[in-house]
Amino acid sequence: MGPLELLAANLLSPIVLSFALGVAAAWVRSDLKIPDDLYSALSIYLLLAIGMKGGVEISRFAPSQIVWPAIATVALGLGTAILDFGFLRRALRVSAVDAAALAAHYGSVSAVTFIACSQYLEAVTTPAEGFLPALVALLEVPAILIALVLGRSASNGSGEPMGAVIREVLAGRSIVLLVGGLVIGALAGKERFSPVAPLFVDLYRGALVIFLLEMGLTAGRRARELRRIGVGLLVFAVAAPLVHGLLGVGAGRLVGLSVGGCTTLGVLAASASYIAAPAAVRLGLPAANPGVPLTLAIAVTFPFNLALGIPLFHRLALWMAEGPR
């Protein structure tokens, strides 16, 4: 498939269309609402599923194969957060707490973007390393921590004590489910995992359709707030994923990941957190405006990555692997 076909393939996938349906429903102010408990149930399910699937695969790799990608991932998290913080302070003159809040969101990761990327790679039959879910867990935390440190030192640190915030992040449900799933999968192994595969593997993609419907509804509702956000920040919400994605693909290449792996690392770096980061920032940097980063992450960066970023970083990874064709 050429690049345009890959793009089309992505745009016409049920998950992207379902996201669009959610946006449209919010736009016509439909009374359609995904029940809160369904949303929670789906996120628990999806996080546990990627964890467990990753855990089952991870035993096939030697630790030595994983250590460099892991280091690259942590470096990406720290690097992109510091980069964003600096850029927002200097170029956009954002206050220290707000810059730190944005850096925490954008340096961290969105697990759903990761899942959408895996679906895309499956659809275009490009395999990726089985340990990638472990990298999602690794990428989630460092950016949040460094950003909180940056924001608090610049603002004389009001908010909860840093220790309490770190505890909150590490015991947060996305880490617990991802890491817990990895451990369960690794301990159970392929054979004992197979009886639960009908739920955790076969239904995975369908569940994502419903989850993205809710993401679309939320993005559509939040889109109304975009006009109150300055154009500088809107540009940031598109530029950041591009730059992060480029760094991510490059880092993947550097540590020897496959094309699928490079694509995934790029997409991970490009994605912005909307679960772990908001909660941590609210407690660690209460003076930061909580609405702006969340709106940008959900209503701009997430759809950007979902629709364009994924095929783009795939293209980039191909190009790095094979040279321009």
Partner: protein, 100 residues
């Protein structure tokens, strides 16, 4: 029916504060509290039930001094940065000596 005049403190706040406010209340003398879910709108915008945007509604029957201490503490620690409202009114409570 014999009842005791006490204060009912009601707090509505963004949900991330839920456990913290309960903890403050306990430490300032509340013998119990009741928590329910809510959504709402205020000066900090709409707090719908979407991603992280819910509110908690916390009620505690307490003596007048504890009521004062609780409001004081909330005003000092949480009002500057968080979405929160707090108010108090008189109630007549069955078996009220249990709550002071």
């Amino acid at each position: 029916m014999k009842t005791t005049p006490l204060k009912l403190v009601t707090v509505v706040a963004e949900s991330v504060l839920g456990d913290r406010i309960c903890e403050e209340m306990r430490s300032l003398g509340a013998k119990g509290f009741t928590v329910s879910e809510a959504t709402g709108e205020g000066s900090r915008g709409l707090r719908t039930s979407e991603l992280g945007g819910k509110n908690v509604r916390i009620e505690a029957v307490v003596g007048p001094d504890a009521a004062d201490r609780i409001l004081e503490r909330l005003a000092e620690r949480y009002f500057p940065h968080y979405a929160i409202i707090a108010f108090v009114h008189d109630v007549h409570v069955v078996r009220g000596d249990k709550y002071v």
